[in-house]
């Protein structure tokens, strides 16, 4: 047997036609094994997305037992592009995404840097960080709704106790947006912290020891060593968060209902309202399609930058 293994490279080259047949057999087996998964994914995501693009160019009528679609038209897009609610939702979603993701990544990184020094209890600390992440968003939205409640909310009590008066947390546009961001940051910063922390503890330790011997300050060490090495991890955490934040739905649905007015209506919430409150599936599909296109474009752009980042990290 040992001889058999030792001879195998030679044996393989001699038995090339048989091996090729075996490879083809295995490949066929492989595609059949993966077919169920690929078919389910395609049937529920790729096919519907193509269908959604078609819907977005037609007039959809929902009937009792099904639906009918009319002739192809660009009206749905003209309608949403001209609607100030859509333009506002687009701006709101982009601003919300940028602000929350930047704050979450910065705070999450700080959190990870502090926690990485922990020798005891790091596992428990990580478990605590996981709790907000594993929480149903609807529940955290209800919880923050209670905290921000105008007459008996604990946030109001705290603000009064420190002499900041009676802000209307959810009653006027700007405070409502900020309050919602706080709820989002509470739930998601720990998630970013976990990813960065896990990336941090996997970095080679000898570089840091060398920097310490050289007498580099903490600040220098971070910008010269930690940050460049951590860039791929940070890029992935940021990408995850951008994509999640852009699909924002659960939090405004429960916490503000998109209001006051339409001040916290995200693209996803607007799409939902157009489809299920106005029963306008054509424009709804147009909103869904443009949102998807924007996410896809953002994703590709980010992957491009990210690939450059990884290249830079490998060269370093």
């Amino acid at each position: 047997m040992v001889a058999g293994i030792a001879l195998s490279p030679q044996a393989r080259s001699r038995a090339a036609p048989g091996d090729e047949r075996r490879r083809k057999l295995l490949a066929r087996a492989g595609w059949s094994l993966s077919a169920p998964a690929l078919i389910v994914v395609a049937a529920v995501t790729i096919f519907p997305i193509i269908f959604s693009v078609i819907l977005s160019f037609t007039n959809v009528n929902v009937t009792g037992s099904g639906f009918s679609i009319g002739a192809m038209t660009g009206e749905n897009y003209a309608e949403i592009f001209h609607a100030s609610v859509w333009r506002y939702a687009l701006v709101f979603t982009v601003v919300y995404t940028v602000v929350t993701v930047v704050i979450e990544v910065v705070l999450g990184t700080l959190l990870a840097l502090v926690a990485a020094r922990l020798t005891k209890g790091r596992g428990y600390f990580m478990a605590l960080l996981l709790l907000p992440w594993s929480m149903i968003t609807v529940i955290s939205a209800e919880l923050w709704g209670y905290i921000y409640q105008g007459t008996y909310g604990v946030a109001d009590a705290i603000f009064q106790a420190v002499g900041l008066g009676h802000p209307l947390f959810l009653g006027t546009p700007t405070p409502a947006i900020i309050s919602m961001m706080v709820a989002d940051i509470w739930k998601t910063t720990p998630f970013v912290g976990i990813i960065v922390l896990a990336g941090l503890v996997m970095l080679p330790q000898d570089v840091f020891e060398a920097a310490q011997i050289d007498g580099a300050s903490g600040w220098t060490t971070f910008w010269q060593i930690t940050f460049p090495l951590l860039r791929p991890t940070l890029a992935i955490a940021t990408l995850f968060r951008i994509l999640q934040a852009f699909g924002l739905f659960d939090l405004p649905f429960v916490l503000t209902g998109g209001g006051p007015g339409t001040s916290t209506t995200s693209l996803a919430l607007l799409g939902y309202k157009v489809m299920f409150e106005d029963v306008a599936f054509g424009p709804g599909a147009a909103i869904a399609t443009t949102t998807t296109a924007l996410v896809l474009a953002g994703c590709l752009l980010f992957l491009r930058v990210f690939r450059a980042q990884v290249g830079a990290a490998k060269e370093a």
């Binding site: 087996a29 492989g30 995501t45 502090v114 596992g123 996981l130 907000p132 996803a268």
Partner: protein
Amino acid sequence: MGAHRESTLGKAMRWATLSVVVVLIAAPLYWLIASSFKTPVNIGASPPQFIPAPATLANYRAAFEHYGFGRYVLNSVIVTLGATVLVLVLGTLAGYAFGRLPLRGVAVVLVILLMISVFPEIAVVPPLYLLLHRIGWLNSYQALIVPYTAFNLPFAVWILRNYFLGIPHEMEEAARVDGASTLRTVWSVILPQALPGLFTAGIFTFTACWTEFLMALTFDSSNSYRTIPVGIALFGSPNVIPFGTIFAAATVAIVPIGILVFVFRKWVVSGLTAGAVKG
């Protein structure tokens, strides 16, 4: 001496920061659980009651008896377990094929899967709603099990493929030399090695299905098929939000997941960083 004093100061600052973080994360969680034991009058007390006195189980009784929360829990369990089992079975088959068999074009398939897994859900809600309406699947368990399976499969396939890829080929060879059949080799040699990957994929799928809201709201909004998030979001009337009942139900919904995540934290963390490791 100076350096020593500085490190003591640094240590103190680190512990202070960590304590603040722990309080900031834990305080809202405490508020949720504590408020679930407040009486209907005390839930609206101003200034708020920091420790529920008297503590009552009335909210839990109301959630289950008046609002029928038990039904929502059952629906969530059926949908979540159904999707998780499907994801693990289909994901293992595909992950094995992509990780260990000589397939051409796997890289392209994997990138497409990755892109699908990041699509916003709103992208598929309009077409899926209409299609489910057409085939009469709205308000059924399969209306959620099938989309949940599809949305969680890409991540599971990635994770499992990485685990299968990491298992040395010598182990398989050795089993084959010993005369084990292919199926037996996979079952008794390969699968046990991929167990951590199965755990990670399972916990992730479970958490994602347990917390999903948009599709559950649009496809299964009738009272008998509502899952926990939909049930809680639609508790009460537009004018009255029964916070006590909501928090009692919420406590029932988050405690099992919290324990699960706490016990399996190692696998959850490794799942969260799987992308970073491979990247």
